[in-house]
């Protein structure tokens, strides 16, 4: 009875995953889609636990329930408490946990499978390797996004080294299966090698490309889950895993397309050690500072102002004061709009979410392709806490790590004002020549604070 029932539950789970993903790709149904998939997942987990109710010792149940209880509390609180600006790194962190789960399953199953079902050994190792790579890769992506690891670290000839490590990893796995090397030592060595590869895989990739990397690692974990489904002949793991694997891969490609950057150039990045040549911290001339009162006057007599929001706006929580600035300028007959780069902030859609929160009109959020021709007719571009997405080096300097990324062409505007906290390099860890140009002036300080001053100066102009 129980054995039969579980298949119906698994079928239900699989269907909720498919429908959930489908609903997640439409803004109207997205939230319900997420809840539906969560319901299917809960049913599948509960069903699995009670599948073998008569044969298992109670201590194992206590351990399972304990782990689920603690995991639920920790996961729930972490997800609820984290700030919106920290969402991308949290997704990466949770993805790593799933990968680690798959890796551990491989570690435990290897000796059992080797003894009883050697023909399934390849599946166990594949799941373990992919899960472990996804785990360590996600941890590096997480550290990069939260700022623990600032810059892309590129070993000499890292592409060749990485490829060799990958080939070695795969060859070793094949050796274990073919030669029947069932000693646990081999298993642990392979596990370590997979962890190392995950680190090497992500560490040379720049911060601006992290959302794509996380999406890619996401589909890796899906694949690892699918191998688990293959191993246990478990349909819900198989369907869920493959579904995420294929949807995740497509999503990765779609995101690459939005950035107009092919996947291989994200993964392999700039060849050679060119990151430093773009000038890590060295100065490239002098910058011009502008005071908020001068800027208020300048904006007051403009006919068109474009605001370019970036991660700095999110960090400073300046979305409400930006909206206030917009309202004041519009009252004075200035046309105001927002230029949104596809990867502004740390995740696609980040800026849309934040500005929507402060009731900015949806029509005022212009996408990159639409807004780029408008810069030439713009009097003032106000860049709030964005850096790499307005760096002209992406178009002009083939040695730059961000070369090839489409940017907002703010340099075409009559004048550019950049709000930043300091002259520190942007996320990709490179200097921005835009700041040193004649028509660029800098407005230093926390976005919320200086824009508040700007708003007050505008009010005083009456």
């Amino acid at each position: 009875m129980n054995i039969d029932l579980i298949h119906i539950i698994y079928l239900f789970g699989s269907v909720t995953f498919i429908l959930g993903l489908k609903m997640l790709s439409n803004p109207k149904t997205a939230r319900n889609g997420n809840l539906l998939a969560a319901a299917g997942m809960t049913a599948a987990i509960v069903g699995t636990i009670f599948l073998k109710e008569n044969e298992v010792s109670p201590i194992i149940y206590y351990l399972i329930f304990g782990a689920i209880l603690v995991g639920t509390v920790v996961g729930w609180l972490t997800a609820k408490r984290v700030q919106m600006t920290k969402m991308p790194e949290l997704v990466s962190l949770f993805n790593g946990m799933g990968g680690a789960c798959a890796g551990l399953i491989g570690l435990i199953e290897f000796p059992k499978v080797a003894a009883h079902h050697p023909e399934k050994l390849g599946i166990v190792l594949a799941g373990m390797i992919i899960g472990s790579v996804s785990f360590s890769g996600s941890m590096i992506a997480w550290a990069k996004l939260n700022g623990t690891l600032r810059n892309a670290i590129r070993l000499p000839k890292y592409n060749i080294v990485n490829t060799l490590v990958l080939i070695g990893l795969l060859a070793y796995a094949v050796y274990i299966v073919v030669a029947g090397a069932y000693d646990p030592m081999h298993l642990y060595l392979l596990f370590t090698l997979a962890i190392v590869y995950g680190v090497l895989f992500v560490i040379p990739i720049g911060g601006a490309d992290m959302p794509v990397v996380i999406s890619l690692l996401n589909s890796f974990t899906g694949l690892a889950a699918a191998f688990g489904g293959f191993l246990y002949d478990n349909q819900v793991m198989l369907t869920g895993g493959i579904l995420v694997g294929s949807a995740g891969t497509l999503l990765t490609l779609v995101m690459c397309k939005a950035m107009n950057r092919p996947l291989y150039s994200v993964v392999f990045g700039a060849f050679g050690e060119t990151a430093a040549s773009a000038g890590g911290g060295e100065s490239q001339g002098s910058v011009r500072e502008v005071s908020s009162s001068d800027l208020a006057v300048q904006m007051n007599y403009s006919s068109k102002v474009l605001i370019v929001p970036g991660y700095g706006l999110a960090v400073a929580q300046a979305q409400h004061v930006v909206k206030e600035l917009e309202t004041l300028l519009e009252e004075r007959g200035v046309e105001v709009a927002y230029a949104i780069h596809p990867v502004a902030g740390r995740m696609p859609g980040h800026m849309n979410v934040l500005l929507a929160e402060s009731n900015v009109d949806y029509d005022k959020l212009k996408e990159m392709e639409d807004v780029n021709p408008e810069f030439a007719q713009t009097d003032v571009v106000l860049v709030v806490g964005a850096n790499d997405v307005v760096n002209p080096a992406a178009k002009t300097d083939p040695t730059s790590p961000i070369f090839g990324m489409p940017i907002l062409e703010v340099e075409n505007a009559k004048s550019v004002v950049v709000n930043k906290r300091s002259m520190n390099a942007g996320y990709a860890g490179i200097q921005n020549e835009l700041f040193f140009r004649d028509k660029t002036s800098m407005l230093f300080g926390d976005a919320k604070k200086v824009l508040g001053e700007l708003v007050n100066e505008l009010k005083n102009l009456d």
Partner: protein, 102 residues
Amino acid sequence: MEDLIAYFTNNKEIIFIVILMVFVGVEVIGNVPAVLHTPLMSGANAIHGVVIIGAILVMLDSSPDNYLALSLGTLAVFLGTLNVVGGFVVTDRMLDMFKKKK
């Protein structure tokens, strides 16, 4: 060659599921607007937390005196739960932000 055909025959249901699911996955998220990339990634992230079922199966299959397997298994269940619960809750919070737009 014969081995390959035998392998296919032995696993034909699974191979069918895999291939069909690849197409379903691609079909299901076609034409997704850029704004939804992150929530979709996050939702998919929660769904691959289904790997926790593997961890539970490992636990149910372990003998109560195999301490290494039990401790690794418990850790795996814990990590899998983090993935599932955290993934769905974070996605819900992100989508909550979109709702306010109206």
